[in-house]
Symmetry: C2
Subunit: 382 residues, 2 copies
């Protein structure tokens, strides 16, 4: 018996995102936007030029290299409540529960940022909503402690998807709790899309009317939500994915004209290992201008630039959009052609900052390994 998401007839339109924003605004942070002359300079330098050993990540002949002009506006959702944009969708979902549903609680089987966000949103709801999180019993103790710390009732399961789903059904049969899925649901994606409304407004506040927004694509909730939010604004929306082990399932799906249903990747962008959902993929196919993918080494370079230059902490998943703008010649040619001499102002969503010094130490310790894989990943045909 498959899990049932709560039914809804919310239209997937910009108006629905605007309405979602009104609902969740009092409960989320309006995270700041950041700008950086240094990163604008890097992005606006042809990749045939080496800047501090970084820019030559993919070999490009001087004559061929794209010459885009890019002005970044970074939306720091790593500084959001719970350390990621996920609180937007979770809070929005809760706002649509009936009092009876709310009294019976909510349940999820994600063990990442979505679970933490749902726990925070539920416990700070007035009145509080009981929240159950199904976690594999092999989860790291710190993750279990953190989820409990946010007020969730943690129930253990086996680590495969069927085991986790069976446990959800078992719990639901006891409590009648409503399943809040991590991305593939209108409530969630419309909530995530609210980040674009703030970004567009804040970019104007710093004198940069946006031409484009790039966002990471894992399950696709954030990307499809942003694309929905931008409809009719003239702002082009792009997705970014890790390329390793075919982690670029959305990009591959779009190329072959059919959603990729399964992915197994060990990319360091661990928030983006999930395949794009059914609803989210449908929206992305229609409303997103293009999806690009980057290598592990490129993700690491972007992470380093954000940590060392912008001085904010991001998880590797959060910077795939920046990596696309810095390294993907396809995207960069597009900016050169469409933006011309004026260039493009590009909004980049930093999706989250939930990492530890140990995790960062671990990925940067693998820098040489990633550099070695660089060519192999770039040769990959898909």
């Amino acid at each position: 018996m498959p899990l049932e998401s709560p039914p809804t007839s919310l239209p997937l339109t910009r108006d629905s995102v605007l309405a979602a924003h009104e609902l969740i605004k009092p409960h989320i942070h309006r995270t700041p936007v950041l700008t950086s002359r240094t990163l604008d300079g890097f992005a606006s330098t042809p990749r045939s030029t080496t800047i501090e050993g970084i820019h030559n990540a993919r070999s490009v002949d001087a004559g061929d290299a794209a010459k885009p002009k890019i002005g970044f506006v970074f939306k720091a959702e790593n500084l959001q409540r719970g350390g990621a944009f996920k609180i937007r969708g979770a809070t929005h979902a809760l706002s649509h529960l009936t009092p009876l549903q709310a009294s019976k609680g909510v349940i999820t089987h994600s063990s990442g940022n979505h679970a933490q966000a749902l726990a925070i949103a539920s416990s700070s709801h007035i009145p509080p909503i009981p929240c159950t999180v199904i976690m594999p019993s092999i989860s790291t103790p710190s993750k279990i402690a953190a989820t409990k710390g946010y007020g969730a009732n943690v129930v253990f399961s086996g680590s495969t998807a069927p085991e986790r789903e069976a446990k959800v059904l078992e719990e639901q049969s006891k409590t009648g709790a409503t399943l809040i899925p991590p991305y593939d649901h209108p409530w969630i994606l419309l909530g995530q899309g609210t980040v674009a409304l703030e970004l567009i407004e804040q970019a104007e506040g710093v004198g940069r009317k946006l031409d484009a927004i790039i966002a990471p694509c894992g399950g696709g909730g954030l990307l499809s939500g942003i694309a929905t939010a931008c409809e009719g604004t003239g702002i082009k929306v792009f997705g970014a994915e890790p390329r390793k082990d075919g982690g670029n399932d959305c990009e591959r799906g779009l190329r072959r004209g059919k959603r990729v249903e399964e992915v197994k990747t060990l990319t360091i962008a661990d928030g983006l290992r999930t395949p794009t959902g059914v609803i989210t993929y449908g929206i992305i196919e229609k409303k997103v201008e293009g999806v690009f993918s980057v290598t592990e080494w490129e993700i690491l370079q972007a992470t380093r630039l954000v940590l060392e230059r912008l001085k904010v902490v991001v998880e590797p998943s959060a910077v795939v959009g920046l990596a696309v703008a810095l390294f993907d010649e396809g995207f960069r040619k597009l900016v050169e052609e469409e933006g011309g001499e004026e260039g493009w102002n590009v909004g980049v969503v930093f999706s989250g900052g939930n990492t530890t010094v140990e995790m960062l130490g671990g990925v940067f310790g693998r820098e040489e390994e990633f550099r070695g894989q660089q060519d192999e990943l770039l040769r990959q045909v898909f």
Copy 2:
């Protein structure tokens, strides 16, 4: 022949800090303030309780442990231009040069954040001011490149103080450049003090009228400037130092009633290895409520909390103030006694964020070593 600092008759008063702020405001960032319920909670829990393995850094009996109530307001000078508060003093110094002095340029022999700040302030001055930085020829290439990248003329010297000073005199005899010292000068300390004016105002903006401010103390420019800025406001000012190898020279000086003139410490808080200056020490002695010191392990724990919880990048030197509030029982007792049930709102200056993933990896790799030194450093009599 000793180096000569430019003469000035600026009074060392709050009014001078207010005037400095008007002068430099257009050229610096008004950096944001950050708050954190999590860190407030840690600081407001008696240290006899273990929180995530951190709080028991110094062993305290349950009955004796201080029970302060602390509400933090963090001033993020790590997000300042050049990555540190130093741009404030440098910009202020330049604003006092005569056109003739400015045309002959400025010179300094610091190779840390002050040199970079002076280079940035000089090159963005209108018209630009030539800036020479004397650096030991053994400096790391990345540091040399960065200083040049900010527009400075780098001149190499030997690595001892006399060698560097001789080179300053030699350059000055050629160009007539004005020496801008890193901390022990009214222009500098009054400029650094402007950070307190913003912090006090921004704290009120988030509903937290400050009772105290804690700032790191290396050469003492920042601390003496803040103490000057707070005169007459009723806000108590405290200093924080690393304890390792007697790096707490200001604290030791105050105890014995005489400035400590020399220090040789390898603390990870490398921005605080300098002894307090003559002018700055005099101000601190009069206007600062107390100076406290913390161990390497405590500095590392505070660094981790800021990176993982606040999600901003700080250098270890930047968080000694937070470490004092979390771990020093003397400071904590004071807050308990003076703050009572209402507690204290404590402004903490994060002084800078100039570090790299390699440096952070290096210090966190030494965590166990620091844990082992913890008791030894705490037993130290001074």
